[in-house]
């Protein structure tokens, strides 16, 4: 059901992890629906994305789209990163099954959320960036098992 590229990025995800003191961190998705993506960006003074890492809770497609998204924004300027759309992520992965298209949307949103966080922290406005929907379920009271 998945392309070879998707399987490759799922089985060998690129840039998994956290960035300490990241310039921007964005978390999108919802545990209720089974997908959460967190994107970390390290952006230098010239506005270039020097490093990008992710953590994802979700299916194979969710992991693969996150992994691909980090590769696509790495080394890019903020404006270039904004152009990494879900379509671009899907194309780079040689497509996704129809039911998994929302995963690529989530990847796009995760990038936007991280950029939004960066803009807020630095008191700047990024042209063309809208406040992303952060759809994390509230009050995650965890039961102990």
């Amino acid at each position: 059901m998945y392309s070879e590229k998707v399987m490759d990025h799922f089985q060998h995800p690129r840039n998994v992890g956290e960035i300490e003191n990241a310039s921007g961190v964005g978390t999108v998705g919802n545990a209720k629906c089974g997908d959460i993506m967190r994107m970390y960006l390290d952006i230098d003074d010239n506005g270039i994305i020097r490093d990008c890492k992710f953590k994802t809770f979700g299916c194979g497609a969710a992991v693969a789209t996150s992994s691909m998204a980090t590769e696509l924004v790495m080394g890019k300027t903020i404006q270039e990163a904004l152009k990494v759309t879900n379509q671009a992520v899907m194309e780079a992965l040689d497509g996704l099954p129809p039911v998994k298209v929302h995963c690529s949307l989530l990847a796009e949103e995760a990038i936007h959320a991280a950029l939004w966080d960066y803009a807020e922290k630095h008191g700047i406005t990024i042209e063309g960036l809208k406040k992303p929907k952060s759809d994390i379920s509230e009050g995650e009271e965890e039961e102990e098992y």
């Binding site: 978390t27 629906c33 089974g34 953590k55 994802t56 299916c59 194979g60 969710a62």
Partner: protein
Amino acid sequence: MENKIIYLDNAATTKVRKEVVDAMLPFFTENYGNASAIYSVGAKAKEALTLSREKVADLIGADPSEIYFTAGGSEADNWALKATAELLADKGKHIITSKIEHHAILHTCEYLESRGFEITYLDVDEDGIVSPEAVEKAIRPDTILVSIMFANNEIGTIEPIKEIGEVVHKHGIYFHTDAVQAFGQVHIDVNEMNIDMLSASGHKLYGPKGIGMLYIRKGVKIRSFVHGGAQERKRRAGTENIPGIVGFGKACEIAKDTLDERIKKESELRDYLIGRLEKEIPYTKINGSRTHRLPNNVNACFRFIEGESMLIMLDGKGICGSSGSACTSGSLDPSHVLLAIGLPHEIAHGSLRLTLSYETTKEEVDYAVDELKKIIETLRAMSPLYEDFVKKNK
């Protein structure tokens, strides 16, 4: 074990036994005649049909005349529900079932709702058990049928069928059970257990796919579901699937002969597997009843991870399992069964079902657990939920 397939999805379907295939083969090319015909190739098919019916009946203490072959469990469920509803619509339009039934029951109930019937979907407890008291409380003067599954296909919980049947009969109502998952895996006696109708399928007990049956107690007057010829005592038309029926019969015969031995072996291995998961993988919850459980069923939730990714990684190691996560159910919600036993969505997404067969070995189980441990570790290291959990508990 790297190149071997470790098949732990026997609740989905099973490998057909060699003896079953051997029994079926002559009925494709030698005794291929129509069982309704008069000549000898047809007579042989007829004879095989009769013999197979006896073997199927024998497994549940029924009379052969009470067994009606169908194309599978789903057809049997559809038949039992729709035909009973149609037959008794004048008496009442209320049916009782549970929230954890198979979709063959639930979606048929939804269809009946659209036709003016009223369905009560009973809650289950945290083990997935339907209480006979709850059944009794839900019974109304216009209740015409109660349908409760014998054992749940996801979490393996075995329902108190005998007790529920007793309650239902006390009120003079028909009792149907979807026994697809339990048939040939545990002891079933339709008389002792107060069952009026029972659905079963061939491919869950090492028989072929595309064959099943509905047991209809003598005196229960439900009508034909498939109209046409006079096959199956005029209650289910269509030329009999003789190779399938012969295979089903053979599978039932072997199931009966090996039942006690399989129950013992599989439940020991099941408990060993559950024990290892609980002991060696932190933040694990075993789903379903510990005591009233199918001998071959293990179902667990591993927190902070998602089921589909776990299945793909297991597949990479040659291990076949299944999950109740949204991604594997084809909807946005995780399994209705896991939600019905009270699991929060995010935990239900991380479920894994492993179901054993009579051939499963301890070595296979050990290999599966060893690989699973590594996979869960990898996925947790990737999970933002786990990251938050660790930071919160620092």
